[in-house]
C-alpha cells in the first residue's frame, strides 16, 4: 500500500510504505516577532474595557486567516474551518476581560481557545485541556512588572528554541501542535516506530525547556 502525502503549505512530500521513505525537509514554521504581541494584548484589553469593535476587527484580521489554516490542518473543510475561526474569535470577544498577559501571550491564549474548540468540534471529544491558569476563572490582575518582563523573555525564548530544534524534532512538534496528531498518528504518518516518535518529542521538550528553565515563572 502506497501512501502519498502532499502538502503545499508545508512544501513537503512524503512517500511511505514498508521499506521506502522519501522525505524532503519541510519548510519551517517561523513565528512572527514578539513586538506584535504587546499590540495584540492591547487590542484585547480594548475589547475588554470598551467593547471596542474596531479593536476586535483588527484582531479578526490578524488571527482569522491563521486560525482557519489551523483548523484545516486537522482536516476541516474550508467552510467549516472558517466557521471555527469565527467562533474562536467570538470566544475572544466574550472572554476578553478574563485575559491577562501575566499568563501567556495573546496568541497563546487564542491558541488554547482554538485548540479546545478544535478538539470539541473536529475530534468530537470533550476537551480536557484547561485554558491557561486563571484565564477562565478570574479577571485580570495588575501585572507585577518583574513577572511581565519574565514572560516577555519566555515568549522570545520559546520562539528561539523552536527555531533551533533539529528538523526531525521540529517536524514532530508541529505535527502534535498544529496538525493535532497523537503519538500513534505521528508514527503512522511518518512511518516511524512509536518509540522513535516519543523519544524525539522528549528530546524536543528537553531542548525547549533548557531555554526557559532559569525563568522565575517556570
Amino acid at each position: 500500500m502506497l501512501t502519498l502525502v502532499h502538502d503545499d503549505r508545508l512544501g513537503s512530500c512524503q512517500i511511505s510504505r514498508p521499506g521506502v521513505r522519501i522525505r524532503r525537509e519541510s519548510k519551517r514554521i517561523m513565528p512572527v516577532s514578539t513586538s506584535a504581541s504587546a499590540a495584540d494584548a492591547d487590542l484585547i484589553r480594548r475589547v475588554a474595557a470598551a467593547r471596542d469593535g474596531e479593536a476586535f476587527a483588527e484582531l479578526f484580521r490578524t488571527y482569522a486567516p491563521r486560525l482557519k489554516s489551523y483548523m484545516m490542518r486537522k482536516g476541516a473543510d474550508p467552510t467549516t474551518a472558517e466557521e471555527l475561526a469565527q467562533e474562536t474569535l467570538l470566544a475572544v470577544w466574550r472572554k476578553a476581560r478574563l485575559y491577562s498577559d501575566t499568563k501567556g501571550s495573546p496568541t497563546t491564549w487564542i491558541f488554547t481557545i482554538a485548540r479546545n474548540l478544535r478538539i470539541d468540534r473536529l475530534r468530537r471529544e470533550t476537551p480536557w485541556q484547561a485554558l491557561p491558569e486563571g484565564h477562565d476563572e478570574t479577571p485580570s490582575d495588575d501585572i507585577p512588572p518583574d513577572e511581565a518582563v519574565d514572560l516577555d523573555v519566555r515568549r522570545t525564548r520559546i520562539r528561539k528554541a523552536l527555531a533551533t530544534l533539529p528538523a526531525e524534532q521540529h517536524e514532530i512538534v508541529v505535527l502534535a501542535f498544529v496538525d493535532g496528531l497523537s503519538h500513534n498518528e505521528i508514527s503512522d504518518r511518518l512511518g516511524l516506530p512509536l518509540g522513535t516518535v516519543k523519544s524525539r518529542m522528549r528530546l524536543a521538550y528537553g531542548k525547549m525547556r533548557g531555554f526557559v528553565e532559569d525563568l522565575k515563572e517556570l
Binding site: R73, Q86, T108
Partner: protein
C-alpha cells in the same frame, strides 16, 4: 502535596498540544489539578503552541468579522462543560472529575469486579476510543502481573500502591507504555483509589478481562 511521579514529557507535550487521546487527557488534566510543577510545564508548552499558530500561513478568509455590535452575537450560551481549571478545591476529587463523580470518592457508586476490587466506568465522547475508569483496590491486594496493550495512565487519587517502579501516592501518575509489565500492590493500610485512562490499539481487546482473569478465574 508532594508529587513524586509525573507524566512522561512526551505525554505532557501532546497534552498541551491538544493531541493526547481523550482518555489520557482526562487523567493528565486531573494530575495537573494536583501538581503545580506540571501545571507550570504545560503553561510554557502552550506558549510553543502560540508561537506555532503565529507562524502559520493564513488561509484567505472570505467573511468579515462577526458583527459584535449586534446584540445577538453577544447572546452567549453558557458553556455547560465543567471548567477543568485547577483552581477549585474539591476535597479529594480533582476539579475536572467533580462533574462526573461528585466530591466524595467513597460515595461513588462502585461496582464490584472481584473480591477487593471495584470500579466505575467513566463516560468518554463517542468518538474517543479508549477507556477511562476509577478503580478501588482493597488494602494489601496484589494485582496480577500485567502488561498494557497501549499507553496507560494511572493517577492516584487516594491511598497508595507500590510496584517495581516505586511507591505511588496521592497525585502521583504512572505513565506506562506497551512495553511495561508491572504488579501493583495496594497499600496494606488504606488500599488505593486510582483514575486509569488507556488507549489501546484495535488489536488489543479486553484489558480488564485479562487483568481480572487470574483473580476471578474466568
Amino acid at each position: 502535596m508532594t508529587v513524586h511521579h509525573h507524566p512522561d514529557p512526551a505525554t505532557l507535550m501532546s497534552y498541551a498540544a491538544g493531541s493526547l487521546p481523550e482518555a489520557l487527557a482526562a487523567v493528565v488534566s486531573c494530575h495537573i489539578a494536583m501538581c503545580l510543577e506540571c501545571r507550570a510545564e504545560v503553561n510554557w508548552l502552550e506558549e510553543a503552541g502560540g508561537a506555532l499558530l503565529d507562524g502559520l500561513d493564513g488561509e484567505r478568509v472570505t467573511s468579515g468579522a462577526p458583527d459584535v455590535g449586534d446584540a445577538s452575537a453577544l447572546a452567549v450560551r453558557a458553556d455547560p462543560r465543567p471548567r477543568s481549571s485547577a483552581s477549585v478545591p474539591s476535597g479529594d476529587v480533582p476539579a475536572p472529575l467533580v462533574a462526573l463523580v461528585g466530591t466524595d470518592l467513597h460515595a461513588v457508586k462502585w461496582r464490584r469486579l472481584a473480591p477487593g476490587l471495584w470500579h466505575k466506568k467513566l463516560p468518554l465522547s463517542k468518538a474517543g476510543g479508549g477507556d477511562l475508569r476509577l478503580i478501588k483496590v482493597a488494602p494489601g491486594l496484589k494485582l496480577p502481573e500485567h502488561g498494557h496493550g497501549g499507553q496507560e495512565l494511572t493517577l492516584l487519587l487516594d491511598g497508595a500502591y507500590s510496584d517495581c517502579f516505586g511507591r505511588y501516592g496521592r497525585g502521583d501518575i504512572a505513565d506506562l507504555d506497551e512495553e511495561v509489565e508491572h504488579q501493583p500492590i495496594a497499600d496494606p493500610e488504606v488500599g488505593c483509589i486510582c483514575l486509569i485512562g488507556i488507549v489501546k490499539p484495535s488489536r488489543y481487546k479486553g484489558w480488564m478481562a485479562r487483568l481480572l482473569q487470574p483473580i476471578v478465574g474466568v
